[in-house]
């Protein structure tokens, strides 16, 4: 079998570069794969992964943001990101602005607000 050994690249960018890099990756043939968040040392790490299915390369954009920082939605460029952004907003409290279809914390019907976000004891 012709095994693909892909590049697995992680690129750390600033919040202001997010839309530009997403657009560039899309134009260069990458397809959106997933987005996820992690709360590390009180900061949000948001990762947006893109795949090139010709050679199975994976390129991940990483932004590190303060919990209250506004992050632009990529759904105008990548419609498929709508559930991922709603998830990051609902579970982590990421302030993602202008999501194409903002479900207003109703993606998962859970009682706890932002269960993965900053806990009250950690709040500033």
């Amino acid at each position: 079998m012709d095994v693909k050994i892909p590049d697995n690249e992680l690129e750390v960018i600033t919040v202001s570069d997010l839309l530009k890099r997403v657009l560039e990756l899309k134009k260069s043939g990458f397809r959106f794969s997933q987005a996820n968040a992690a709360l590390i040392d009180g900061k949000l790490e948001l990762s947006y992964s893109f795949s090139d299915y010709e050679n199975y390369a994976l390129h991940t954009l990483r932004i590190v943001a303060d919990t209250g920082e506004e992050i632009p939605s990529i759904t105008q460029i990548i419609p498929a990101a709508v559930f991922y952004e709603n998830e990051m907003k609902e579970l982590f409290g990421a302030r993602i602005m202008l999501i194409d279809t903002d479900l207003n914390d109703r993606l998962y019907r859970i009682r706890q607000k932002t269960p993965f976000g900053k806990k009250e004891t950690e709040a500033e």
């Binding site: 079998m1 992690a38 419609p79 559930f83 993606l107 993965f116």
Partner: protein, 360 residues
């Protein structure tokens, strides 16, 4: 333009195996918009990473889904193994491949049965599930469990499959192969089946790429994507090319999954033929993981994505699973637009939705 009204579909519906709710905006009998909502069975499995150590998380990952349980465990273990930089023994990699393909077979047979039931062909449903029982019996024979059998561990597998049991797998696959050929002709040639599937719910390759769909759903529209091409487990030592169709309709999705059953049989036969005689099925893994890794595996429903981040402690900083159904919902909603309301149930089924898996 006819009068618009909204029809709620689900979360409880005869064709739905699991709960998803879709608000269907209809004009007469035509769907013009579909607005999904999930969240009825959210379990918070990822948050258990705050309480369970990275070894215990194998069991949590396996419980993400009852159907692709084995593959969830394998995907998680492979991501942690990458962080550790350990090389799993070759026999363990082949064992993982055999169980992964058996899991694919029982999942596809389950889906084919549900599809047959969805278009009202109960006898065909029973035939599919009868063959599926044989595959579940093989799970029980080799691993002791029928659906969730916890044989993965970080560094390898916990159980070996003895020679006699490998021979039993081959015997059962011969039987399943013959029986599948009979039901294949019904799925591919029966007039009633064709009238429900041909030309229904068509999505183009461009739409699939734009909406990020994966798995047999994407391959049915000509997108040549299958994570087994990455060569994880023992796929790098087997002959494999993705099965693709260009029709993009319900029939093509059925065709892909049916042909993948035969492909799985071929892969298992090849893996059993090549499995090394060595005794080692695991390597010791010492310490705690430190680093992060994105792992992709091809589950029966498509590409599953595992993200593990650790900082040298027993508890992980983050464990995230992106299931195939999560990626397929936007394309499902697009497909429902302009469909007939009578086809909605069947269209939802053709993405092989696994909602519990999606909600983790």
């Amino acid at each position: 333009m006819g009068k618009r009204s909204v029809i709620p579909f689900g979360p409880q519906h005869p064709v739905l195996p699991e709960p998803i709710h879709i608000d269907l905006v209809v004009e007469d009998e035509k769907v013009v918009e579909a607005i999904p909502s999930i969240g009825f069975v959210h379990r918070g499995l990822e948050s258990l990473a705050e309480k369970k150590d990275f070894n215990q998380m194998v069991y949590v990952a396996e419980r993400t889904c009852g159907i692709c349980s084995f593959q969830h465990g394998m995907g998680y273990c492979e991501s942690v193994e990458h962080i550790f930089g350990v090389e799993v023994p070759r026999r363990a990699r082949f064992l993982r491949t055999i169980w992964a393909e058996l899991s694919r077979m029982h999942s596809h047979l389950l889906w084919l049965g549900l599809l047959a039931d969805g278009f009202g062909y109960e006898n065909l449903f029973y035939q599919c599930w009868r063959i599926r029982e044989k595959i579940l019996d093989l799970h029980e024979l080799t691993a002791g469990g029928r659906l969730i059998f916890s044989v993965n561990k970080v560094g390898g597998v916990t159980k070996d499959i003895e020679k006699e049991k490998l021979e039993e797998i081959l015997r059962t696959l011969d039987e399943a192969d013959d029986e599948l050929r009979v039901i294949r002709s019904v799925f591919f040639e029966d007039r009633t089946v064709l009238s429900r599937l041909k030309g229904v719910g068509v999505l183009s390759k461009e739409q699939i790429n734009e909406l990020g769909a994966v798995g047999p759903f994407a391959r049915a529209s000509g997108v040549r994507v299958d994570m087994r091409m990455l060569g994880y487990a023992a796929y790098n030592e087997l002959s494999f090319i993705p099965i693709v169709s260009n029709d993009g309709d319900c029939y093509a999705r059925c065709f892909i999954r049916m042909m993948e059953l035969f492909q799985s049989i071929k892969l298992i036969r090849e893996a059993i033929g090549k499995i090394p005689e060595e005794k080692e099925i695991e390597v010791p893994v010492k310490g705690n993981p430190d680093g992060e890794y994105f792992m992709r595996v091809e589950q029966p429903r498509g590409e599953a994505f595992y993200y593990v981040k650790a900082s040298g402690k027993p508890l992980l900083d983050r464990m995230r699973i992106r299931t195939p159904t999560f990626a397929n919902i936007p394309a499902l909603c697009e497909m429902l637009k302009s469909s007939e309301i009578a086809d909605v149930g069947l269209l939802v089924l053709t993405i092989d939705p696994c909602i519990s898996c999606t909600e983790r």
